[in-house]
């Protein structure tokens, strides 16, 4: 094992910056006004991993949102985190150019080609490594820093708390972790499950379950969820539902019908806030650009209050019941978990 570079940012842990999702100008405004330090947005095309009809920003909306955020001293990060189509990478180059022209505070990228284009054509632009790059070791992150000059890495949701701590100790770039929101099957950047059924994957088309492939059908036995004709779940009439992704479907496996890969649930790391802060985690990300402005506003308010409370008195920090109630209300499946942070196995 090689020695790690000097970890300059961990000398004096500061409160993590709160990075919130915005799928629309209204969500951006509410997030900023509710206390987000930064919001992350995407353009209305396949250059970002939440490419849904009616969601995201055109150039004029992005410009207005950036002006609002900057007027209040906050940041806007742009997700360009899908992998460029080898047949037509120009769309990704144009998106990088557009982001630079808009004056975004950073690009969030995964594809090395996109990172290289940004580095070569817009060297002043700050680069963050997307979770979609799936870099899980400080050595991998250091590679991206050396080659592309990334200043922050967003960690995949596969690491335990001890592993995050180890990585923070050795990394020479800022570390961002997920704090709240829907969990994915935890192979970010590598998942091809939806390609298996629909021919499209989040890493190329920007969607796990292309809406055109999703069908919900009410029947006498409940509700069928189908993806491109394939039955992925059947819900009892009064049973709570989840997002219609293949990874969260229930299947018959050796005679038992259950979640074969993952249950619909949300990550919630409020209780870990003091430890994440002490580790020197630079930013906490809230998932959910596809969710409504109401979700963004309320989740942002809870996390703003929690981060401020933790910064004021870290030793006395405790999760307030009303925070848990609010976050539980907005959780997928109305249940939450510490995810891999608290994983008992290795």
């Amino acid at each position: 094992m090689t020695s790690s570079p000097a970890a300059s940012h961990v000398a004096s842990p500061r409160p993590p910056r709160l990075v919130c999702p915005a799928g629309s100008l209204r969500a951006l405004t509410l997030a900023i006004d509710a206390g987000a330090d930064a919001v992350y947005i995407g353009l209305k095309d396949a250059t970002n991993a939440r490419n849904f009809a009616g969601l995201n920003f055109d150039i004029a909306q992005a410009r207005e949102g950036i002006a609002h955020a900057h007027a209040l001293g906050r940041e806007v990060l742009m997700a360009l985190n899908t992998f460029a189509d080898a047949h037509a990478p120009q769309r990704w180059w144009r998106a990088v150019d557009a982001a630079a022209g808009l004056g975004v505070d950073a690009l969030i990228c995964a594809d090395t080609a996109v990172l290289a284009y940004a580095r070569d054509h817009h060297p002043q632009l700050r680069l963050h490594l997307s979770v979609q790059a799936s870099a899980t070791t400080w050595e991998a992150i250091e590679f991206y820093r050396e080659r592309y000059g990334i200043r922050r890495a967003v960690l995949p949701r596969v690491l335990t708390l001890a592993q995050v701590e180890q990585l923070c100790r050795h990394s020479s770039v800022e570390i961002e972790v997920f704090g709240f929101g829907s969990l994915c099957v935890m192979v970010e950047g590598r998942c091809a499950l939806s390609s298996y059924v629909t021919g499209q994957s989040p890493n190329t088309a920007g969607v796990c379950s292309p809406p055109s492939a999703v069908r919900w059908t009410d029947g006498a036995d409940g509700v069928d969820a189908r993806l491109n004709g394939v039955l992925i779940d059947r819900y009892a009439p009064d049973e709570a539902r989840g997002y219609p992704t293949l990874c969260k479907g229930r299947f018959d496996v050796e005679g038992t019908r259950d979640y074969a890969l993952e249950e619909p649930t949300s990550l919630n790391t409020l209780s870990l806030l003091p430890r994440l802060t002490a580790m020197g985690v630079a930013a906490i990300k809230i998932e959910g650009r596809q969710r409504s402005p109401a979700y963004v506003e309320q989740v942002t308010r809870v996390w703003r209050a929690a981060i401020d409370a933790c910064a004021a008195q870290p030793a006395r920090f405790s999760v307030q019941p009303q925070w848990t109630t609010t976050l539980g209300r907005w959780s997928e499946g109305q249940q939450h978990t510490l995810g891999a942070y608290d994983r008992p196995w290795r």
Binding site: S24, L25, G54, V214, R241, S292, T326
Partner: protein, 149 residues
């Protein structure tokens, strides 16, 4: 943390079953026409041109379950109109009045209501998502009842 829940339920108590069954037997056209007029007034002026173009030409069924009410509207030639009751709709949305009210006020999240089965959406999922995201981006269409300080 959810100040709107109580007022919404309080101002819109469910209809008694007998009355609900009666409403369900009424023709679809009159309430559809009223809904179209309301949408023309509160939504059409705020609907972006590109969204209007993509939403146009499809019939949407909207059911208010606790009132037994069903409407069918469409956006055609740049205006909201009631749509013919016969034939399939592109999208069917069903929820209680309180859920609609919370969505119209920007107090709730369609995904959350969907998870809870408080909101049912059937048909063309892509069209439904376009409609949801368009309405989310526009913001509250209703400010009644007023929030208490």
């Amino acid at each position: 943390m959810t100040p709107s829940a109580t007022p919404s339920h309080r101002v819109l108590p469910p209809l008694p079953p007998v009355l609900r069954e009666l409403v369900a037997r009424l023709p679809v056209h009159p309430p559809s026409h009223l809904l179209a007029l309301a949408l023309e007034r509160v939504l059409r002026p705020r609907l972006p041109a590109d969204a209007a173009a993509r939403l146009a030409g499809h019939a949407v069924d909207i059911e208010v379950r606790d009132f037994g009410l069903r409407c069918r509207v469409t956006l055609r030639d740049g205006h909201f109109r009631s749509a013919p009751a016969s034939g399939p709709a592109t999208l069917r949305i069903a929820a209680d009045a309180a859920s609609y009210l919370r969505l119209l006020r920007g107090d709730d999240d369609a995904d959350r209501l969907f998870f809870e089965r408080a909101l049912v959406m059937e048909g063309d999922t892509e069209y439904g998502l376009l409609l949801k995201n368009t309405l989310d981006a526009i913001g509250p269409l209703l400010h009644w009842p007023l929030r208490r300080a």
